[in-house]
Amino acid sequence: MLLKIAWRNVWRNKRRSLITIAAIFIAVLLAIFLRALQLGMYDNMINNVVGSYSGYVQLHSKGYWDDKTIDNAFEVNQSVLADIQNIDGVSTILKRIQAGALSSYNDLSKFVYITGIDPENEEILTDWNKRLIEGRLLKKDSKSIIVAKGVAKYYNLKIGDTLIFIGQGYHGMQAVGAYPLQGVVDMKNPNLNNYSVFMTLPVAQDFVSAENLITNLVIDKEQYFDENKIAQVIKSKINNQSYDIMTWKEMTPELDQLIEADNAGGILIIMILYMIVTFGIFGTVLMMTQERLYEFGVLISIGMRRSKLMITLIYETILLTFTGIMSGVVVSLPIVNYFYYNPLRLFGAASAQMETAGFEPVIPFMNSYDIPLTHSLIILCISLIICVYPILIIYQLQPIKAMKR
């Protein structure tokens, strides 16, 4: 019956309760919408750069990251590979060799990064099938190359055309080669699209005269595993003197900082929303308490324990908040879901800005139960904190004084 009384009390002043519920509804809706948009955008950025190409953790020879020359290539032994593969949360390990080279075609030339890959393993991380826009993908024994769409566009390449590369090989060797084009891929990242050329690992090793050597060991993780923990375990298992183990945040700190800075702004907006809602709920609870002191005095007089009265008032606050939260969640979910499957595509200056920063100009929303759950719980916690006020009032209430008001 206490719950029934609480529910009916919520509706004693319909207009006031509806205004409060509407405030909570709007706050929850906006919070979920904003966070789904922001986190979706970050997720997309990370996926563009990290999840689908660089991997969450990489292992290099000591000093390679600061001096990315082929001379810092290393040979990775099987025991190290096995140690890493056995770590909980590690899903895929990819060997890559990467070197800068000057490419040329007809009378044009361009600096590119040649990356030697293991096509079969690489497929797991990079999902080449989805990226291929023309031609064929590399096979294990391919001798030709695939290029990113920016490179193909720059040279106006067609399948079968041959690109010439000149660069520096391992330990001063000259790296020169001509390779026919067998495919064009979209790397979903403007920087990668403008500079990427791929060949198989043996062909690339042969090009830079670095047999059995690699420059990057890319370690991808299972979903929801913490890359920092994986990096820590790897550090503890292998010889730190020879290798650098870096997470994506260390490899691309500018992306992490960009996300952190943007995220801070988003959190600030959400906090302002919460403050407004807090005052909205508190105002209602304050009025619901103060205007009923006489009634509380009567209830205590006729034998209602203070604890039961407190519970009733907590129910009232929670019911009021819960109604607002649930309506916000119910309305926001289909909206978020729609934009998850139909990402916002940016146009004009905003699109150009995103592309300049190296990201695909789309904003897919994050469709995770975490977002509504987190924001619902935060608002519920706020309402529980607000409940302290009526609890204190009831605790101190003297029925005689209350009934004299």
């Binding site: 019956m1 009916r8 009634e295 009567v298 006729i302 209602m304 324990r305």
Partner: protein
């Protein structure tokens, strides 16, 4: 046997640095089945006296015993439980819970006592029938007249099977027909079930029905008359 005993109770209030004696050494007993009216001018201490014997207010000195239990020694929570199980209250402004129906208002007290649903259902209907409101069970207070609300309040006061009922000016807001109706019900319950009623009142119609009239003035008992 005495249901209520007060022994030399006094109640002092401080008002603008002045001590005001709302009750002054009041010793009085009430027996089971009495229908008592406490009368006196405003400020004579009627309400303070009812509040003190009802455990809503504590005396500055003296003792209040209900069925030989000294309630002045009980703490706040014990007093609430004591009131719930031993005392029925009827207030001048009815004070029903506005969001509950007549039946739910009567049930509420039994719910606080921990009675089962079937007992609550049965007794609340019986009580509302006894006050002539068996056709208004599902109406909320704002759908009832003042007289009907006060009758629900009487039914609520009796729901806990109290040892006595305290009624503070119960007819002050009622018209003469409702007053007469309410007093008939209370008299009947008093006679039939030996329920002890103690009223504070200015209303001559209540005084006329009482079998004991206690007059207070300046916190002291001026007279204590058994009428019938």
């Amino acid at each position: 046997m005495n249901v209520i005993e007060t022994k030399n109770i006094s109640k002092l209030y401080k008002q603008a640095d002045q001590d005001i004696k709302a009750l002054n050494d009041v010793s009085i007993n009430f027996k089971k089945g009495e229908f008592t009216a406490i009368v006196g001018p405003s400020g004579s201490g009627k309400t303070t006296f009812l509040n003190t014997i009802g455990g809503l207010d504590s005396p500055s000195s003296g003792k209040v015993l209900i069925d030989n239990n000294e309630i002045t020694k009980l703490n706040s929570n014990q007093l609430i439980d004591f009131r719930l199980r031993n005392i029925g209250f009827v207030f001048q402004s009815y004070n029903l819970i506005p969001v509950l129906t007549a039946k739910e208002n009567v049930e509420f007290i039994m719910l606080m006592q921990g009675s089962s649903k079937s007992i609550r259902d049965k007794r609340s209907v019986e009580l509302l029938k006894s006050v002539g409101l068996d056709d208004q069970l599902n109406r909320r207070p704002n759908q009832l007249s003042g007289g009907q609300q006060q009758r629900v309040a009487v039914a609520r006061a009796l729901a806990s099977k109290p040892k006595f009922v305290l009624a503070d000016e119960p007819t002050a807001n009622l018209d003469s027909s409702s007053t007469s109706n309410l007093l008939d019900i209370m008299s009947r319950l008093n006679k039939k079930e030996k329920m002890t009623f103690i009223f504070s009142t200015h209303d001559q119609r209540v005084i006329d029905r009482a079998n004991r009239i206690i007059t207070l003035e300046d916190g002291k008992i001026l007279s204590d008359i058994n009428v019938k």
